[in-house]
């Protein structure tokens, strides 16, 4: 088993229900932060709002227990920390590929989704679950998909995880030391669609169209419509082709 760089400690499993659930169980038992759990397969991989995450062997499924901050409303900032860290890790593997962050924390390459994240508060810590399509691109659901292998990388899931631990340690440390401002800027530098037209599907199914005017100070997507600018905190984001 390949080690992960400090401060992370790795626990590897052949199979788990979900790496986030395993981290949650260990956090409830008092596990300290910087624990990383990975599984070769998940039997109940989860996405946002009960969506299942197809867990094809060869892809990366991992969860981190990260040190949070005292205030609950700072937790969502880690969604951007994680997106920036993964963008760096994948870019190191495939420097020629243009990985872009899609609000709040998916990664796209050529408009196709290559990763997904699910963060859950386990105060004072945060559980960060990351799925990366390494060797296989699942059938498209909401968005078209791709994988590292299709983009020309021979990296394994373990190698992707090791790289992600390096970049996550850097960006998480920067967040702890300097707060959200440098993270927000780094995310904007790596983002897709800022300034252009966007469609947001809200929790109640309603769709709103407007211009992606940027991020507010907390990371909410600023949707500019004729009537004004609205910060969007949750929803599915679509860009026109």
């Amino acid at each position: 088993m390949q080690a992960v760089p400090p401060p992370f400690r790795l626990l590897s499993f052949e199979s788990l229900d979900s790496t986030n659930d395993e981290i949650a169980r260990r956090a409830a038992q008092g596990a300290p932060p910087y624990l990383v759990v990975t599984a070769a397969t998940q039997t109940a991989g989860r996405g946002r709002r009960g969506r299942s995450w197809v867990s094809s062997p060869g892809n990366l499924f991992c969860s981190f227990l990260l040190e949070g901050r005292a205030r609950a409303d700072e937790g969502p900032q880690l969604a951007f920390v994680a997106a920036v860290a993964l963008q760096d890790a994948l870019s190191a593997l495939l420097p020629a590929a243009a990985f872009r962050c899609k609000w709040p924390n998916d990664l796209l390459c050529q408009g196709r989704k290559i990763s997904g994240m699910l963060l859950e508060a386990a105060r004072p810590h945060i559980i960060l679950g990351v799925g990366v399509n390494v060797t296989e691109a699942p059938s498209p659901a909401l968005y078209p998909t791709t994988c590292l292998r299709a983009l020309g990388s021979g990296a394994t899931a373990v190698e992707v995880l090791a790289g992600l631990c390096e970049t996550l340690a850097h960006w998480h440390g920067l967040w702890l030391a300097q707060g959200f401002a440098p993270i927000r800027q780094a995310w904007l530098d790596r983002a897709t669609g800022v300034g252009g037209p966007v469609t947001v599907r809200l929790a109640d199914g309603a769709e709103r169209q407007g211009r992606f005017a940027g991020l507010d100070e907390g990371g909410a997507l600023l949707l500019e419509e004729a009537a004004g600018v609205t910060p969007i905190l949750a929803g599915d984001v679509f860009f026109p082709n």
Partner: protein, 149 residues
């Protein structure tokens, strides 16, 4: 405009707005400057307060409990801005319903912001007597979510 100078014109127009609308408080923020104008509504002017308030109360019966919920000792308030979810996923049973007995530490709803899910746990055991938000509703920091008695 300097951020430190007092924009008396703005304060004056907010004060006029306060009187016009019968509100007790207006907070306005623009270009980094925040102005809060507040007054105490006293019983000496009941006619002015009561007259417009009556039809509004009739049209929105939910407004009154929400206002008093702010100071209710059993109110559970949102720790963050986000979107409230009353069930773990669409179509699934709710975490808790009005009338349910809930145990301390039990998850009663989720607040989602930027795909980060924050479980809201019952701070004490008791009966869920009021649900103050609906599924998928955006909530503000400190907004009362539900009441446990």
């Amino acid at each position: 405009m300097s951020k430190t100078s007092i924009d008396s014109e703005a304060v004056r127009s907010l004060a006029a707005l306060l009187a016009d609308t019968n509100l007790s408080e207006i907070e306005y923020e623009s270009a980094g400057l925040r102005i809060r104008v507040a007054r105490t509504l006293v019983a000496a002017v009941p006619a002015a307060v009561a007259a417009p308030a009556a039809p509004a109360a009739a049209a929105q019966p939910a407004a009154q409990p929400a206002a008093s919920a702010e100071n209710h000792p059993g109110a559970v308030k949102s720790p963050m801005v986000g979107v409230a979810y009353l069930s773990p996923e669409p179509g699934a049973p709710r975490f808790a319903n009005v009338g349910d007995s809930v145990a301390e530490g039990q998850t009663v709803m989720l607040i989602d912001a930027m795909k980060t899910f924050n479980p809201i746990r019952a701070p004490k055991s008791g009966k869920l007597t009021q649900m103050l938000v609906t599924d998928g509703q955006p909530v503000e920091f400190g907004e009362p979510l539900l009441i446990i008695e």
